[in-house]
């Protein structure tokens, strides 16, 4: 357990906790960006540099901005209304989440004891990743490309302005 891991884990968890509990939606989005950045740093600490920088590009760069845009576009009716931000069934949800965490933690602590320590630092370069993507993982890569195109077109069609009476 290094100091860096503890600091990054606390940063990530605090960001995630703030993202789901804060009242102001814009503050939630900012806390979400902090949590994503902490996760990217954890990836870097695990010697997965490429995934860490992808995380920064995709999540901190794109998904967080997308969430901010959605929050600003759906401003209005229910802002500033007094009352709770939590659902009527929040107690059941909290209970389910606590039960899931208890189960996961129990499984981790029970099973991880026998695992070996890590071998040395894996020497993985971007060149290795590129060659693997173009040889062994070329079919998943193409499928992801198709999925991203379909999702892009679908998201635009879903969110496109709807004409009056065109429905």
């Amino acid at each position: 357990m290094s100091i860096a891991f503890v600091v990054l884990a606390l940063l990530t968890l605090a960001g995630a906790m703030a993202a789901v509990t804060l009242r102001n939606l814009v503050h939630c989005a900012l806390a979400l960006a902090v949590a994503f950045a902490g996760l990217a740093l954890l990836f870097l600490q695990l010697d997965a540099q490429f995934v860490g920088f992808t995380q920064i590009l995709v999540y901190v760069g794109a998904v967080a901005i997308l969430v901010v845009f959605a929050i600003l576009l759906t401003r209005g009716a229910d802002d500033g209304k007094a009352g709770t931000v939590f659902s009527r069934t929040w107690l059941a949800g909290l209970g389910i989440a606590a039960a899931v965490f208890a189960l996961l933690g129990w499984a981790v602590l029970r099973s991880v004891r026998g695992l070996a320590q890590a071998a040395g630092t894996p020497a993985v370069t971007v060149e290795n990743i590129g060659q693997a993507l173009m040889s062994r993982y070329v079919l998943p890569l193409e499928i992801v490309a198709l999925l991203l195109t379909a999702a892009l077109v679908g998201a635009v069609i879903v969110a496109m302005y709807e004409k009056e009476g065109a429905r």
Partner: protein, 107 residues
């Protein structure tokens, strides 16, 4: 502490806690965007698990967990775009993103 005898356990516990926080957010918040944020947190917790198992597994040079995490990030980005598009459209139709008030399928 014996439970932290391997660093892998630390990462797995952080991922489990992150997943639980995301699940709690998705299940308890009333705003649809916050539910999507919770889902993103859960996906990220899964990615952390994949990377941790790749790093501490027996064959890191096979790149399996790394590739899985990369593809999972791409799929999560597509999911976020479509989900937020749906939320914007729902807000345009019903003038609210409060999930307690959105209880019918018919537009």
């Amino acid at each position: 502490m014996t439970c932290f005898s391997t660093p892998l356990a630390g990462y797995l516990l952080v991922a489990a806690l992150l997943f639980a926080i995301g699940l709690a957010g998705a299940l308890t918040r009333r705003n649809a965007i916050l539910v999507l944020i919770g889902i993103e947190l859960m996906l990220n917790a899964a990615n952390l698990n994949l990377i941790a198992f790749w790093r501490f597994g027996p064959h890191p040079e096979m790149l399996t967990g790394l590739m899985f995490a990369l593809f999972s990030i791409a799929v999560a980005a597509a999911e976020a775009a479509v989900g937020l598009g749906l939320v914007i459209q729902i807000h345009r139709h019903l003038k609210t993103t409060d999930l307690d008030q959105i209880s019918r399928m018919k537009g």
